[in-house]
């Protein structure tokens, strides 16, 4: 009897504990996300790992002389240890080294450029700050290939690449740039570096703007030279932000596809992502091994990052109570430095747009005379009978384009709502259960999709969708987009929640306000702009996404970016340029409108 009582007591105690655990919304949220993220991120990862040892039908099975579906280490042996025809060197080692070089260089460029501008804007009395900080995020808002396309169009000449025609630099200014400047490692790293420099600007700028000025002031009082203060005080403080930037830029550059295709292929410069794409067509097993290598690198840097700084979340958060920061006077250098920056930003952010506009109205390439210009590619009809260089109607009169624009906007909005809301919930759970294993697991899992190359992520979801009949079309694209962009939203969600003091919610808890009401009435309004930024970043990223969706769209005409890629590959340059411009304008408009209406902005989304 006593034993039964004891047992019953224990069971009741356990039940009570479970009930208490589940009565906390943060626990329920974390548990739900643990399950969901395991299915949505770990399952794809495992299925990808399975693909690396599975022999696929067709070419792969015949080449391996094994039956389709069998399990073998053939792909590993072939990709890593085939010396005949230099196979492994060509398909893996050389592209791998190129990828490392380009990704490291891009990260350094992004940190240097973004960091220096962030320093100048936050810590000096630089002129035209408003313009500089306003335009600096443009390259990130624009699709990355924008700058790559511009680079080629602007600098190509008859001495390099195809050696057939001159770009604007050669034909207008008579300046012929060397091949290394226009194609290959240098421009790829530079373009990626410039594209991701806003990460550095936002992360480093956030720290610089809010850092405690006492340290620097103390050094100044002790008559420490300025350069020594920067070297010994400022740099160590921003080091975590620099490492964060390195992680983000390195992982993104490693899986970047369009930029190496545009600027590498003409000189036979291949990176892992371009090799992965071509292998995916004929030897998917080897392509998935390359994806695995990319993920391994991402995870390694993430771990290194965590080890160095102990916790990644610390440096993406705007922390500290700053005192009065003393601004450095640039004196006579002020105007020249500001003008130089403005020129660089105009070149990177504004001139490409003008170039696209120009390229979308000329009939024959390279001829910029008025007689060679037409608005037909925008508003013409019956073009197949007159020009026959692409579609039969101009893009603004083409229902396909409007449908694709509507679909892209709908998809971006859906992904933003799903990812943004999940981001807030993850943020809430992680912040409330800070320090627990569950919280840190969910936090890491929610960042994991960032490390998966988009193209491979799409490919895995495509093969998953063939097993799930309901998962197709819009639902498939929305799910993939939401998972892929969750890291952006969860970052800003976690950061925003960490800034909130627990007392704010506690007051509402004591008065018995239900959880959802606390979220909607208390927490959300306080951190509104940070949360909204968590919605904006997935929205913007989704609007200009290509690699993630390229295999999943029902047709190339479904969304604007796949339509653009199709036109570009067919060589329908004018239509391609017009659609590119349309995408950029729409993305900028969305960004501007949301910013004006709600105060949310991209920089808050990344930087917290």
């Amino acid at each position: 009897m006593q034993q039964t009582n004891a047992k019953g007591f224990q069971t009741r105690r356990l039940l009570g504990r479970v009930r208490a655990w589940f009565s906390k919304p943060a626990n329920v949220i974390l548990l739900l996300f643990l399950v969901a993220l395991t299915v949505l991120t770990l399952y794809p990862l495992l299925s990808m790992l399975t693909e690396t040892v599975t022999i696929h039908t067709g070419r792969e099975a015949r080449a391996a002389q094994l039956s389709a579906g069998s399990i073998a280490m053939y792909h590993f042996q072939r990709l890593f240890a085939t010396s005949e025809n230099d196979y492994s060197w060509i398909q893996f080692y050389q592209p791998f080294l190129n990828t490392l070089l380009v990704s490291v260089a891009a990260s350094v460029i992004a940190i240097l450029f973004g960091g220096i501008v962030a320093f100048l804007v936050t810590r000096t009395d630089l002129k035209y700050k408003k313009f500089i900080s306003g335009v600096f995020t443009f390259p990130y808002i624009m699709p990355s290939w924008t700058l790559a396309l511009f680079w080629e169009t602007f600098f190509k000449n008859v001495n390099i690449g195809l050696k057939t025609s001159n770009g604007i630099m050669a034909s207008v200014f008579g300046i012929y740039m060397p091949e290394w400047f226009v194609y290959g490692a240098f421009p790829i790293a530079l373009v990626l570096g410039l594209h991701y420099a806003p990460f550095a600007y936002i992360l480093i700028g956030g720290i610089l703007r809010n850092m405690d000025a006492n340290l620097e002031e103390a050094a100044t009082i002790l008559k420490t030279p300025r350069i020594r203060i920067i070297w010994r005080i400022t740099l160590p403080i921003v080091k975590p932000a620099m490492l964060s930037t390195f992680l983000l830029v390195f992982a993104s550059s490693m899986s970047a596809y369009s930029v190496p295709v545009f600027l590498g292929s003409p000189v036979r410069y291949y990176v892992l992502s371009t090799k992965m794409k071509s292998l995916m067509d004929s030897y998917p097993g080897q392509a998935y091994i390359i994806v695995g290598v990319m993920i391994l690198f991402g995870v390694a840097i993430l771990l290194l990052n965590q080890k160095v700084t102990n916790s990644r979340k610390q440096f993406t958060t705007v922390t500290g109570k700053s005192g009065q920061i003393s601004k450095i006077h640039l004196n006579r250098a002020n105007r020249p430095v500001a003008i130089l920056l403005v020129i660089i930003l105009l070149l990177v952010a504004v001139v490409p747009l003008i170039t696209f506009a120009l390229e979308s109205v000329i009939i024959k390439a390279g001829d910029y005379s008025l007689s060679n210009m037409t608005l037909d590619f925008w508003i013409g009809r019956d073009l197949d009978k007159r020009l026959d260089q692409g579609d039969s109607t101009g893009i603004l009169l083409n229902p396909k384009v409007w449908n694709a624009l509507g679909y892209s906007l709908g998809l971006a909005a859906t992904c933003a709502i799903v990812a943004g809301t999940c981001g807030i919930l993850v943020g809430y759970g992680v912040a409330k259960r800070r320090g627990s294993k569950l919280a840190s697991l969910v936090n890491s899992l929610s960042f994991f999709p960032y490390l998966m190359p988009s193209l491979a992520f799409g490919a895995i979801y495509l093969s998953m969708s063939s097993q799930l009949p309901w998962l197709r079309g819009f639902a498939l694209l929305a799910l993939v987009g939401s998972v892929k962009y969750l890291p952006f939203a969860s970052r800003s969600g976690v950061n925003a929640m960490l800034q909130l003091s627990g007392e704010i919610e506690e007051a509402a808890v004591i008065t018995g306000v239900p959880w959802w009401k606390r979220m909607v009435r208390v927490i959300f309004p306080i951190q509104k702009s940070s949360f909204l930024s968590g919605y904006l970043l997935p929205m913007v990223s989704c609007m200009r996404e290509l690699s993630l969706f390229v295999l999943l769209v029902p047709t190339s005409n479904t969304i604007l970016t796949t339509m653009l890629m199709q036109y570009s590959e067919k060589g329908w340059a004018q239509f391609g340029n017009a659609i590119n411009l349309l995408i950029i304008v729409v993305v900028l408009l969305v960004n501007f409108t949301v910013n004006k209406l709600t105060g949310a902005s991209i920089d808050k989304g990344v930087g917290g």
Binding site: R59, L162, K163, S165, N166, P266, N557
Partner: protein, 380 residues
Amino acid sequence: MKKLLALLLTCMLVLSAIPALADVADDVAAGEALTHDELVEKALAETGTFVVYGNTSRIATAAEDFAALYNITTEANNLKDQEIYTKLRSENGNTAADMVMIQDGAQLTDAIDEGLVINFVPSAVKDVLDESDQQPALVHQYINKLFIYNNLGDDVPAIRNVWELTDPSMKGNVIFKNPESEKVNMNFLVMCTKEDWAAKLADAYKAWKGEDIDLGSYKNAGYKWVAEFLDNVTFGKSDTTIAEEVSQETAAGKIGLFVLSKLRSSSVLTDNLTVAQYDASAQGYTVEPFAGFMYPMYTMVNTKATRPYTGMLFIEYLMTQEGFQPWGKSIGAYSPNAAITVNDGDLTIDVWKDTLVMEDADYILESFEVEDFILQHCQK
């Protein structure tokens, strides 16, 4: 429990897939015996949007005309060949294509073996076409990629022998699409190493140099030509871009290997271009041993089609003079149907078959090592 559930689900999936496969195969078998009117009746009885994938941009025009003719809601999608094969393998249900128009005979052979697509030969063309154009897959048209050069300046590369393209002086002057990005280009290079073409290349070498070819470490003359050709080549993004670029006034001395039909585009300065074989024919010779290559574009019914009879009707339509019009209106597309003649100024399909390298799917499918060899020479 989990295993049981997984087994049950798998069984359900397999069971749900088998009838669909068998249904479409039965429909196609039945369709081959139907008259045109019966096929129309069956097609109109089907519901839902008729979806087409094709790796030719002009499929859109053909589909529009077809939709207007039969009042059938049609959605035509122009995709790359590889995208179509990927989608055929992974798509199910209403979004999948009912019918595909596709190139690359080697991959198509695999797709047929895997049961992804089924061949349909309309009764109207059964007695008209050669057997080789009907089986294993119906050929809708042949497309040729030819050596076409810029005719400006003093240094015009009016080639008479393809070995001229391997001369060190031609380095950087030859433009071709990367064989890794379009399989038909890879297929062409692979075919050059087949014994018959290798022998012809060896003869052509002797005709060019006046001496027997020294193969060195190469297995045959085909390997040697491919290696030396690729060493001189610069890769262009697309055939349209190559056509535009080679036609530039600043591109004297350049020669490209690209689709002849690109000459129709107004962005190409056609006057600056000369098709090597046109010039050769006018002077009574041919480019030795080939003036480029030619490959078929096939039409097939998707085994997952939800409108199989409409797919068959569309195939029947494409094989008519009217259905061929979107391609036949300009040069560079050749119907296997002799009743559909070529454009003025173009050469006939028989002439092209004699002067161009054609695909042999069986040889390509077994030539993995050749592809590795080609990839090696596509690298710097």
